[in-house]
């Protein structure tokens, strides 16, 4: 009588553990970092999810966002796009130097911020964590350098100590068209790799 009971107990525990682990993995909470935290929309590598912050978000999205973007606002107030690769689809790496370029966004305010693989601001004191609409000003087109050391001129996002990193584009109070049809209306910034393994 004991053997069947032991078998059932082992089956139950194994099932619960594996089930729990699979939920964490599919939500991107364990395992390789999943930029698919933002997977409903893809605009030239910038990914987002329409249900971020909303109670209508599916359980996987809610779990991923709670881990990688806690306290994110619903889309009516802000939308967030994240990108972890350059224009050649290679992972963004602090060993490389990139040119980030774009235009004005149709929103009250926007910013682009660099985060490390743990979704944290990289541990440096360069005070070059982001660029935003107030930094860029009225320029219709702008460029910035992403590098571990400051370039001689121009806007700069410091990737020092970021290792593999990603960028989050925030649009606060976006225009209705951007909320409804981001694939058609978002002005997706470009990320072009300039070099690797060299200091600027």
């Amino acid at each position: 009588m004991l053997k069947p009971l032991v078998l059932l107990t082992i089956s139950t525990i194994a099932g619960l553990l594996l089930g729990g682990a699979s939920a964490l993995y599919m939500s991107g909470l364990i395992g390789p970092k999943s930029i698919d935290a933002f997977s409903d929309i893809d605009v030239e590598g910038w990914r987002s999810d329409r249900s971020i912050g909303s109670a209508s978000a599916d359980p996987y999205t809610r779990a991923r966002v709670s881990r990688h973007g806690l306290l994110a606002l619903a889309k009516e107030e802000a939308i967030y796009f994240t990108r972890a690769t350059d224009d050649a689809d290679a992972p963004l790496d602090d060993a490389c130097i990139y040119e980030l370029s774009g235009g004005q966004q149709d929103a009250f305010w926007w910013s682009i911020t660099l985060y490390d693989a743990d979704s944290r601001l990289p541990m440096n004191d360069d005070d070059a964590l982001s660029i935003d609409a107030t930094t860029i000003g009225e320029d219709a087109k702008w460029t910035a350098t992403i590098s571990p050391t400051q370039p001689e001129t121009g806007h700069w996002l410091s990737s020092r100590n970021a290792d593999l990193f990603d960028l989050t584009l925030r649009l606060y109070r976006p225009a209705d068209e951007v909320i409804l049809r981001p694939e058609e209306t978002l002005i997706a910034p470009s990320i072009r790799k300039l070099s690797c393994g060299e200091t600027s």
Binding site: I13, L16, G19, S27, A74
Partner: protein, 180 residues
Amino acid sequence: MIRWLASFIVFVAALFVGHQLVLDKTPGFIMKKAMTVMKENGAQLHSFTLSARTTPQSQTVVRPSPDLAYSICPFDLSGGQSLLVQAGAYSNYGSVSFFDARTNNFATVRIGPEQTPGARFGVKLHPPGKRAADDNFAGPQIEAPSAKGLILIRRLAPSQAAYDEVAKIAVGDSCGPISG
């Protein structure tokens, strides 16, 4: 044979239960942990605390924006009281957002340039199941979907000077219980 089949069925059932349980509990677990960290960093129940300017050294949550100044008010309405949430007007982007115990952003109210300079924004927050009071209160009245949660004020502050301006305004932020 039957024994193994039964074990397999139990395994699959447990797999499903384990999966759903973790998925369901994760947001609440993370929110609870985040609120604990915030309290350890000075956040107090039913009181706004302006966080230090966001830097790599001061960050307490994932993906904070270094361009925003955050004021946090944890709330617990399990005693049945309602809160009056007030925030000082700001000359640039600002918002007051409400999050429940499962991280859902259940309401956001804008503050900022559209407000009369010097005026205070006000919202009443009611516990789950409590209807808005039939009074002459001019601002929004919101029912929280959970007794516990967080109120977060965001104000645009991409520089130290802007943050210092926010710090002066944030002194007037409040989220205390409504008496009576």
